[in-house]
């Protein structure tokens, strides 16, 4: 337990340091700080992964059964995807939003009850970690597309109104932001789809039926349709730019509800275990 806590707090502190560096880079216009911030995130994501590894061996199963673990795992997925995205698009400004957000997720995680729950035998299947990983990576990709969407709207507004504030110089071009939005969407959608399918198979092995219209399932399906519509719009009708950005923001609000709202408000069998203790 001691090792886990140490790794967890180290990760949190690294994310904090990275946030500060990215913010310094953005506010103080010091691009070097952003580069250091990126290295910090890279170290953070490795330490964070080792935290999960240790936890996994302690619990004997995939450690994503409580809100504490879920938030932390979500933060990890986001950092990982952001680093990959940054590799391609050089988005150090986005780091100034992603790093603090993951830090807050870690803080939220730290304040959620941390219980390594004696695992329900139902959850013991190789499909469970697969389901969880796909779903969380998909969610993280959509969160990033949401971030890119917000940045797009800010930049678009400044270019349209012809009034520029300090952040104008720092934000990437509309073209890049739109591409990021699209990349995240096209990565997130298959991940989410795989998440839902693997979940269905797992449900079948656990309960003998693929789909039971549990609230989480229903909301996930609604969200999936929204993202499918957005992807379709982009690919065939030529939706892009502002319209796509707004759509991805709305879809993400649905996703957030699916991810957190359903567990906290509606119940259902996805609230198993630790959630029930909240």
């Amino acid at each position: 337990m001691g090792t886990i806590n140490l790794l967890f707090s180290t990760t949190t502190l690294i994310y904090l340091a990275s946030s500060i560096l990215y913010l310094v880079a953005m506010v103080g216009k010091q691009p070097q700080a952003g580069r250091v911030g990126r290295w910090a995130l890279l170290v953070g994501v490795v330490v964070h992964a080792s935290c999960f590894a240790v936890r996994h061996s302690a619990a004997g199963a995939t450690p994503v059964t409580s809100l504490h673990e879920s938030l932390s795992f979500f933060a990890w997925c986001m950092v990982l995807l952001f680093l990959l995205l940054d590799l391609r698009f050089h988005l150090s400004v986005m780091g100034a939003f992603v790093a603090p957000f993951t830090f807050l997720l870690m803080v939220g995680s730290a304040f959620s009850p941390d219980i390594v729950v004696p695992l329900n035998p139902l959850l013991k299947s190789w499909l469970f970690p697969v389901h969880i990983t796909f779903a969380f990576l998909g969610n993280a990709a959509f969160a990033l597309s949401f971030g890119a969407g917000v940045m797009y709207l800010i930049q678009n507004r400044m270019l349209k109104s012809k009034r520029f504030t300090g952040i104008y110089q720092l934000l990437p071009s509309l073209d890049v932001l739109d591409k990021v939005n699209y990349t995240c969407l096209s990565v997130g959608f298959p991940l989410m789809t795989l998440g839902i399918i693997s979940g269905a198979f797992w449900a079948n092995t656990a309960w003998g039926s693929y789909w039971r219209w549990d609230p989480k399932e229903t909301w996930a399906l609604i969200t999936w349709f929204l993202y499918a519509a957005l992807l379709h719009g982009r690919l065939t009708i030529g939706w892009r730019g502002r319209r796509a950005a707004i759509f991805s923001i709305i879809a993400f609000i649905f996703l957030l509800f699916t991810f957190l709202g359903v567990n906290l408000l509606l119940g259902g069998y996805h609230t198993f275990e630790a959630f029930a203790t909240l």
Binding site: Q155, K162, L174, D175, V176, R240, G241
Partner: protein
Amino acid sequence: MNIVIVGLSHKTAPVEIREKVAFPPTAMEVPLQQMLSLPSISEAVIVSTCNRVELYAISRQPDAATIEMKQFIADFHGLKLEVLQDHLYDFEGEGAIQHVLRVAASLDSMMIGEPQILGQIKTAYGYACEYKTVGLILNRFLNKAFSVAKRVRTETAIASSAVSVSFAAVELARKIFDSLENKTVMLIGAGEMCELAAKHFVNNGVSKVLVTNRTFSRAEKLAEAFGGVAVNFDNFREQLHRVDIVLSSTGASDYILSAKKLKEVCKERRYKPMFLIDIAVPRDIDPAANKLDSVYLYDVDDLQGVVQANLKGRQKEAAKAELIVNEEVSQFQNWLSSLEVKPTIVALRQQLEQVRQAEMAKTLSSLNKLNDKERKAIESMTCAIVNKILHHPTHILKQTNNGGDGNLYIDAVRTLFDLPDPVEQNTNPNPDKSD
């Protein structure tokens, strides 16, 4: 040893005066050599641009040097000094160091932060090196100015924003399209500003240029200049869906592009963004087009607004740059002072040693009953006196090495003891000996 500067710039002289005193860049040898032969200066550099003419020199008598250099400018151009007198400024010492560092860092330019001036000073320095009119001090000094200019450029955002309408347009385009490669520009009508902007776009990667004009032959001519294609004015609208950037400046009295037409074009383009720049007055493009999702429409006033905002930003950055310059000024001044410390101390010692030996010789010649031991005693006593006297002044001079009023003490010592000028061997023009 002082840096002396005489010159005039856009701030002190109108163009009618500036053009009269400009030094032609193709024939710098004569003026440089003539300047170097002025009696009170060593080392010479002449900077001559369309906005400023400045002479840099090193001198022991800055006041005399200033007068000689002013007279030189007038004489060289066959003018009366009275004509120039009111326009000329002069600096020496720290003021001169600060002035040159500011000029090189483009803080004294008409357009603050413009990059040309640094290159112009480098060229001037190049000529001075070629004709061997710079020595140790100006060599070091100008290299310092170059590095300070670079520091200002990297540590402040003084030159990071566009301050001309056409550059502002390119910058905006970058914020929309990211890269301008594979983008297509259409010029509608002709006009100086329009052509200039088109040139900037082409220089920044735009690959395809379409030109249209009511007079087709003009369109053809312009298209040829940009390696583009001329389009008939009657059906240029049919080509619009292929165009990412439109530069419009026709003399039409009414809109030549309606918002409705552009809406159709957007659809045809599958809502890929379009950047429309309307430089015409009265305007060519219906301003309502800016309300279309994928259209970014800027007219002349909008671009001017961007430029004004950028200029304001530059002024803010200039304040930061001034701090950097001031820091570097005192650093360089310290180095300059330290140059003279050692020779001054040596000269002072020599002076006193001469006095001692002269007096010893005099005294010993009248005391001939002394034995060797007594002689040696007197010898060492006089040496001790000289050393004791010199101890504190030497200490003070060496300290001024690290800052403060270095020149003041050195000058005082030189005057009080009437020391000869020893630094000449240091400052003989020797451009190879740069550090």
